[in-house]
């Protein structure tokens, strides 16, 4: 309270490097986890739509359970299980002993959570594709992979993109949760700055501002991408 504006500005200046490094880590983490999440989501959506009874059920249980439990709890559970589990899995698959770093664990944890939501977005988008397009591809004897790549993904994109953009913003915000398990990103950087300067209000607001810039820029980019993808598609209102 006795701090002058000048003092606040110079202190923020001193810590701006740490905040920036944190923001870059948050972005890196979010981008990688987003890709992991989209892949998991796509596989899950495919399993729910075209899988056998077992695959269908596994995917349903995964998407339902993960969306019903708090993200923070999942992150705690997966983080503590995560590193041990991933090492065991890789050993089982015959990749030998691998070193798992905190970044990889965090990405996988966030990706698993993201995948459950992405699966729902993709399932909805695939269901919105007119049946005739898929039937036509079948008539031309498209192999499954080509069908996915050439027909289904392009046709579902206009419907999926708003949902994906929404998930991306949620992911950027949820990535702050990994600061709770000690991974250093933007919020951890702000916490370190706040703790050592005792300027809690200032630094948490600064972190909030950076998150806000990230989400606002993301929303704007999503609008541009959406307009591009809709261009030429025959979605109503496109």
């Amino acid at each position: 309270m006795g701090q002058s504006i000048e003092h606040i500005v110079t202190t923020i200046g001193d810590w701006s490097g740490a905040l920036l490094a944190g923001a870059i880590m948050t972005l890196k983490l979010s981008v990688t986890a987003f890709i992991v999440g989209q892949v998991i989501g796509m596989v899950c959506a495919a399993a729910r739509l075209w899988g056998g009874p077992v695959a269908r059920r596994v995917a349903l249980v995964y998407t339902t359970m993960l969306r019903a439990v708090p993200e923070l709890l999942l992150i705690l559970l997966l983080y503590y299980t995560g590193s041990a589990g991933i090492v065991a899995l890789f050993q089982y698959l015959g990749f030998g002993n691998i070193e798992i770093d905190a970044f990889a664990t965090t990405v996988i944890v966030l990706g698993i959570v993201q995948g459950a939501y992405a699966a729902e977005v993709f399932r909805g988008a695939i269901l919105s594709i007119p049946e005739g397009q898929i039937e036509a591809a079948n008539v031309f004897a498209f192999p499954p992979f080509m069908m996915m790549w050439r027909i289904i993904i392009p046709a579902m994109m206009p419907v999926a993109i708003p949902g994906m953009a929404n998930l991306w913003v949620i992911l950027v915000k949820d990535s702050s949760l990994v600061s709770v398990v000690g991974f250093s990103e933007l919020l951890s950087g702000a916490r370190a700055a706040a703790a050592s300067t005792k300027m809690y209000f200032t630094f948490y607001c600064a972190a909030g501002l950076i998150y806000l810039v990230l989400t606002l820029v993301s929303n704007r980019l999503a609008q541009i991408v959406e307009r591009r993808v809709r261009h030429g598609s025959q979605q109503p209102g496109g």
Binding site: V69, L76, S176
Partner: protein, 228 residues
């Protein structure tokens, strides 16, 4: 898997569940009331109100809830603690407890998210209903209270209830500021007994059942809305 701690710690979990329920009910109730104000301000005739409520929604929805909780708890909390005389006041025991800070943050968050939802709902109520009410000579306030809001809320009931599941999940963040909610209870068992998975898995089941219950209510509301 070792569940021998349950005998000793179950009262803590009941207390944690109660705390989670309280957070959910308090923030859902007050958040919804605030959301109505936000939604009405967003479609107001006055530009100033639209700008303020619009920026509020953008800022709250664009930043992580955890950051908001930290700003309220550490930021505002520290400012309050520095205020002379407050430590000896009757309110201090409440001001020290993280619970009310989390409840406040969650309420603000609900106000922003549900406010946005309600704005959409208000705008999609058929114009004719409102014109008819105006034709009867009802005042703007009466129209809002008797016709416009009820119609919007009825339409949005399933969405509002599914937002309750999101809110339930958000209450877990209370544990980050030392509130003993369900996750806080599990954390305490973990630090006391060094068991990691068992307490976390146990509360995961509780959250699953709780979300399931809310989803069931949502499905019921869905069916009721469809019948009309």
């Amino acid at each position: 898997m070792d569940f021998s701690w349950v005998d000793k710690y179950w009262p803590l979990f009941v207390q944690g569940l109660w705390c989670t329920v309280l957070l959910l009910v308090i923030s859902a109730t007050f958040g919804f009331l605030l959301a109505i104000l936000v939604a009405v301000a967003r479609i107001s005739r006055f530009r100033m109100l639209r700008v303020i409520s619009g920026s509020f929604t953008t800022v709250i929805r664009g930043t992580p809830l955890l950051v908001q909780i930290y700003i309220v708890y550490y930021g505002v909390g520290t400012l309050l603690a520095g205020t002379p005389g407050i430590r000896t006041s009757l309110l201090w025991p409440y001001l020290r407890d993280g619970f009310w800070y989390v409840a406040l943050s969650l309420t603000i968050s609900v106000a922003a998210y549900d406010g946005e939802l309600l704005r959409g709902g208000l705008l999609s109520v058929p114009k004719g209903e409102i014109e008819a009410a105006r034709g009867f000579g009802m005042s703007r306030w009466l129209i809002l209270r008797r016709i416009w809001l009820p119609a919007a809320i009825r339409m949005l009931l399933p969405n509002l209830l599914s937002d309750c599941v999101l809110l339930l999940k958000s209450t877990a963040l209370a544990s980050t500021v030392a509130v003993v909610d369900l996750v806080g209870a599990a954390n305490r068992v973990r630090s006391d007994t060094f068991l990691v998975y068992e307490p976390l898995l146990a509360i995961a089941v509780v959250y699953l059942l709780f979300s399931g219950l809310l989803a069931l209510l949502g499905a019921r509301a869905d069916a009721r809305v469809a019948r009309r």
